[in-house]
């Protein structure tokens, strides 16, 4: 009986202060909308960077003209580096392996059928024991006759480092933005509840005179705050869903049709919606809860 009664009391109050209620709902809507747009983008960047981080390997490209002896010599050099503890692992990737790899990464491998011959070089894929020592490995292998003069040796550790820095900046900036937005929504809901409370100050005094406990008076206001949070979040989720269907999905389709596929995933929409609605409810509860703590001394 109690929850029903408190809900009815909350709805009574919302009806009595319609304008203020709409303002509070719109506030949450904006905050949750931005939060909802940010979370997937943030996760996408994060995942992309994570993938790059794994790619600290070194590719030693082998010239098509290299002889078997030369390639074996290169292999011995790499084995030597392993014995020194610089290299953790190395794999020989033949021209056919390279082509098969590419075929797997392409959305439409049929473009490869038209090639007259395999243009991809064979290579040694070398994993450094410590990515920071990549440069040493490169220096040791550079200039070997088996190494392709044009392609040389490529390693991604610089790019990975830079991406990592960018990701960290995005992480902090994004976290700060989300924090500011959530705090702003909490304060705005708190303010709305305060106005609603002040508007009913005399009523609250009467309630206390007939023996209502503080929590009996507070619950409807807390529920009122939660309803603002839920309503704002629900509308924001609906808007985000519209944007996803109309804009993002078609972008993603375009991106997919491009030559390579990026399989850095992001969050599913249902999970996102659940998080956002929960965030709205929590923001509403906190906003009203914090405000009401200051009121209602018997």
């Amino acid at each position: 009986m109690r929850p029903g009664f408190f809900l009815a009391e909350a709805l009574r109050s919302i009806r009595a202060n319609a304008a203020i209620s709409i303002a509070a709902t719109v506030t949450v809507l904006i905050a949750v909308f931005i939060l909802g747009a940010f979370i997937p983008s943030f996760l996408y960047v994060q995942n992309t960077v994570d993938q790059q981080k794994d790619k600290v390997d070194i590719n030693v490209f082998i010239a098509d003209s290299a002889t078997v002896q030369q390639v074996n010599g290169l292999q011995r050099n790499i084995d030597g580096l392993r014995e020194q503890g610089l290299v953790r692992e190395s794999t020989y990737v033949s021209k056919d392996d390279a082509l098969a790899d590419l075929r797997e990464r392409l959305r439409d491998p049929s473009v490869l059928e038209e090639l007259p011959s395999n243009p991809l070089p064979a290579s040694f894929n070398v994993l450094p024991a410590d990515p920071g020592q990549s440069q040493q490995i490169v220096v040791a292998l550079q200039g070997h006759p088996a190494v392709d003069a044009d392609l040389g040796i490529s390693f991604a550790s610089d790019t990975a480092d830079r991406l990592l820095t960018v990701a960290r900046v995005i992480q902090y900036a994004g976290g700060a933005l989300i924090l500011v937005l959530l705090v702003a929504s909490i304060l705005l809901i708190g303010n709305t509840i305060r106005l609603s409370f002040v508007a009913r100050r005399r009523e609250v005094e009467v309630m206390k005179l007939v023996g209502a406990t503080n929590w009996f008076i507070r619950w409807p206001f807390v529920i009122e705050g939660i309803l603002f949070g839920l309503a704002g979040a629900t509308v924001a989720v609906a808007m985000l869903f519209g944007i996803k269907v109309l804009v993002v999905d078609s972008w993603a389709a375009d991106a997919d049709s491009a030559l390579t596929r990026n399989d850095a995933g992001t969050i599913g929409f249902l999970a996102l919606a659940a998080i956002l609605v929960a965030a709205g409810a929590i923001v509403g509860a906190l906003g009203s809860g914090i405000t009401l703590r200051r009121f209602l001394r018997v």
């Binding site: 009664f5 009574r12 009523e203 309630m207 005179l209 007939v210 023996g211 406990t213």
Partner: protein, 238 residues
């Protein structure tokens, strides 16, 4: 039921609410609290429900010491005391029914109990027909009846009324007075602050008179002022 022992309440620097008042009211009594405006009647009543706290002395209500009562217990104290005020203090956006029901809801009464008790009490105060009206659709006397109904719906052992007829015309006042008297006859202690001389004279109940926060008279079967004391005190012939 109510014991005031040396109770003093000072508001500002010179504003004395009550000055070392000692007084005892037994269970089931009907007491008029009289005195000119500013004599401390409202202060007495606000102390009783712990809306304000005494600076000196002790207050006991129904065996509970209000001085040492924790804040959290105050709502429970108030549920055991029915309150009626000069300005009715009804909840404006709620119907007569909902106003009375609220006093039950704060105690956790079931919807079933509410459906039974509210019509019962509204019929007692003669407002059965007006259950769905809002307070501003009622006359002053009717609003005060709602307030009495709300105060009595939990059947408290103590009912206090601060100038309940202060805003009402004499005929309407008599109706409210009769209602309070009937409530007293059910065994409920009633304390009524008033300066309605005619009413007090007619009822011949215990009169506690205050002046400048001091007890100046406490007399059974009395009239409003001391001038009439002789008549009231005349022993029954014979």
């Amino acid at each position: 039921m109510v014991i005031f022992d040396g109770v003093r309440k000072v508001y500002g620097q010179d504003s004395i609410g009550l000055d070392r008042l000692s007084l005892s009211i037994e269970h089931g009594e009907f007491v008029f609290l009289v005195g000119p405006s500013g004599s401390g009647k409202s202060t007495f009543i606000r102390l009783l429900i712990k809306e304000i706290e005494a600076d000196e002395g002790t207050i006991t209500v129904g065996g509970r010491n209000l001085n040492s009562m924790r804040r959290g217990r105050v709502p429970y104290l108030r549920r055991s005391i029915g309150c009626v005020f000069q300005d009715y203090k009804l909840l404006p956006g709620r119907t007569v029914h909902d106003n009375v029901a609220y006093a039950l809801q704060v105690t956790g009464e079931t919807p079933r109990g509410i459906r039974r008790k509210v019509p019962e009490i509204l019929s007692l105060v003669g407002l059965s027909e007006m259950a769905q009206r809002l307070p501003d659709e009622l006359s002053g006397g009717e609003q005060q009846r709602v307030s009495v109904a709300r105060a009595f719906v939990n059947h408290p052992r103590l009912l206090i009324a601060d100038e309940p007829t202060g805003n009402l015309d004499p005929d309407t006042s008599i109706g409210i007075m009769q209602l309070l008297y009937r409530i007293n006859r059910t065994g409920t202690t009633v304390i009524m602050a008033t300066h309605d001389r005619e009413m007090v004279d007619k009822m011949q109940m215990r009169v506690v008179a205050l002046d400048h926060g001091r007890l100046v008279r406490d007399q059974r079967r009395a009239s409003y002022s001391r001038a009439d004391v002789g008549a009231a005190r005349t022993p029954p012939a014979g």
